[in-house]
């Protein structure tokens, strides 16, 4: 087994870190910089910032948050929400992001995926999929932060974007998001079976056992955590120790002397 990445996902609205349930009912948590710094000091493997409003106003804030973070935090940084063009990608990379996550704009214009991959490298093109179940073993792609239906099948779309040059897939279950009842393991398994790019499972982690399930059964390459970290339901070092005990291979970061 290859090491699994532990990622903190920070949903942003304006200048605040927020958290919702099924991407709705957003609550303000605090200052994203402070939380990001805390996770870095605790040895997080990566950070994802998602702008949930994706307005121009929100984006200016987002660029500022990214700039500050990248000056002081030396782990990879993914930024998503409202990225619609090569120029938007460039702006975020220049602010200090290493990768961008694109969902809505890729649905509207799939060519954007190969354009981003070709211009900036596949390593920086994270395709974000918001999935909702529509029957057993069948999921539909949603856009606009879980608000709009696209009519597309998640598995088909995942195959298509991997072929078009997406370097990894951020797979969020809208149904499980914020519920703390565990990941949609069947969804993650269906996508990891269909593609050979890394898949980040997002949405539903309430305890370490959920991580173990989505890695062992779902074959996720990485796990995005939000609620469990932001509300301090578990501390990162404890999550790591527990996952390690359960046989999940993870990074053991060095401590500051």
């Amino acid at each position: 087994m290859n090491p699994v990445r532990l990622i903190a996902r920070l949903d942003i609205k304006g200048e605040n870190l927020i958290k919702g349930i099924q991407l709705e009912g957003l609550r303000v948590i605090g200052n994203p910089q402070e939380y990001a710094t805390g996770y870095y000091n605790d040895g997080i493997d990566e950070l994802i910032f998602m702008d949930t409003v994706a307005s121009l106003y929100g984006r200016n804030n987002l660029a500022r948050i990214v700039e500050y973070t990248s000056e002081n935090i030396f782990v990879p940084l993914t930024v998503g929400g409202g990225i619609r063009s090569l120029a938007d990608v460039e702006e975020m990379l220049r602010a200090g992001a290493d990768k961008v996550a694109i969902n809505t704009a890729a649905i509207n214009n799939p060519k954007l995926i190969s354009e981003v991959a070709k211009t900036f490298g596949a390593q920086c093109m994270v395709l974000s999929i918001e999935a909702k179940a529509r029957g057993k073993g069948e999921w539909e792609v949603y856009t606009d932060n879980g608000r709009e239906r696209s009519g597309k099948s998640v598995v088909q779309w995942a195959k298509q974007v991997a072929e078009m040059g997406a370097g990894e897939i951020l797979l969020t279950s809208v149904d499980c998001e914020g519920t703390r009842r565990g990941f949609d393991v069947a969804l993650v398994k269906a996508v990891t079976d269909a593609v050979s790019v890394p898949v980040i499972a997002s949405g539903g982690m309430g305890k370490v056992q959920h991580l173990v399930e989505v890695v062992q059964q779902g074959k996720a390459s990485a796990v995005a955590m939000a609620d469990i970290l932001h509300y301090r339901r578990a501390a990162l070092p404890d999550i790591r120790t527990e996952a390690d005990k359960a046989g999940i291979k993870i990074r053991m970061p060095e401590r500051e002397n």
């Binding site: 990445r5 990248s70 900036f120 370097g167 890394p198 990074r251």
Partner: protein, 231 residues
């Protein structure tokens, strides 16, 4: 780290995080696409992301290849990062064959061809035999040869650093491989070094404290230890 570090700016990727990491360890950072400044640098860093051929093309376009080769010959510390490391080799196989800088004889090959990356480890490949690529994540560095006097002088074997790549360097002379990691039963080059030249496949600027400590030590160990090489 006192002293100056010159980073080659050739329109490929975001140099800000590399520059910031060197600033963080106290270096005086210069980012330039000026051939004279490159030739005269105290220490030179060649970053790079995207495709091998594209990086070479961009260097060519800015007429920087000669300057970089001249610097490399000076004996002063040279550091290639990610694709900046890959183009140190003679040939890259990404999207057809492309000529590299040829500072280290060898090829840059696709990780999807498992046979190229001989498995000598105990890691068990996934049973469905699918290789997840690109490699994205934190891998443990293993010694291919002694690290004394190299960029890993102060690094403990087994430390994890952040990789993202689908191709990797294969030097003809295996003793130029400084470190490797194991992935899905394959042994993949993590670092190469030869005299004053060091190449890192991973991103030290994105590898937390381990990466920072490497950059802090880089350039001193190499000079102080009388080049620390075997070839």
């Amino acid at each position: 780290m006192a002293g100056k570090v010159t980073i080659v700016d050739y329109g490929v990727g975001n140099l800000r995080s590399v520059a910031r990491a060197f600033e963080y360890v106290g270096a005086d950072v210069e980012v330039t696409s000026d051939a004279q400044k490159i030739i005269q640098a105290e220490r030179l860093v060649l970053p790079g992301v995207g495709a091998f051929g594209h990086c070479m093309q961009e260097l060519q376009k800015r007429q920087l290849i000669e300057a970089i080769l001249q610097f490399a010959e000076s004996g002063r510390p040279f550091l290639g990062i990610c694709v900046g490391m890959q183009i140190m080799l003679s040939i890259g196989e990404e999207f057809g064959e492309h000529k590299g800088l040829g500072l280290i004889a060898g090829r840059v090959q696709n990780l999807s061809l498992r046979k190229n990356w001989i498995a000598t480890s105990s890691t068990t490949p996934r049973n469905d035999d699918k290789i997840i690529l690109p490699v994205i994540g934190w891998m443990n560095l293993k010694k291919t040869r002694d690290w004394q006097g190299t960029i890993f002088n102060n690094i403990t074997e087994g430390s994890s650093v952040y990789f993202v790549h689908s191709f990797a360097a294969k030097p003809d002379d295996v003793t130029l491989q400084l470190a490797h990691y194991e992935y899905d039963g394959m042994n993949i080059t993590a670092a190469v070094s030869k005299n004053n030249l060091t190449g890192l496949q991973f991103h030290p600027e994105k590898s937390g404290l381990v990466g920072i400590n490497m950059l802090k030590g880089w350039g001193f160990g190499i000079r102080d230890s009388g080049l620390g090489i075997r070839d």
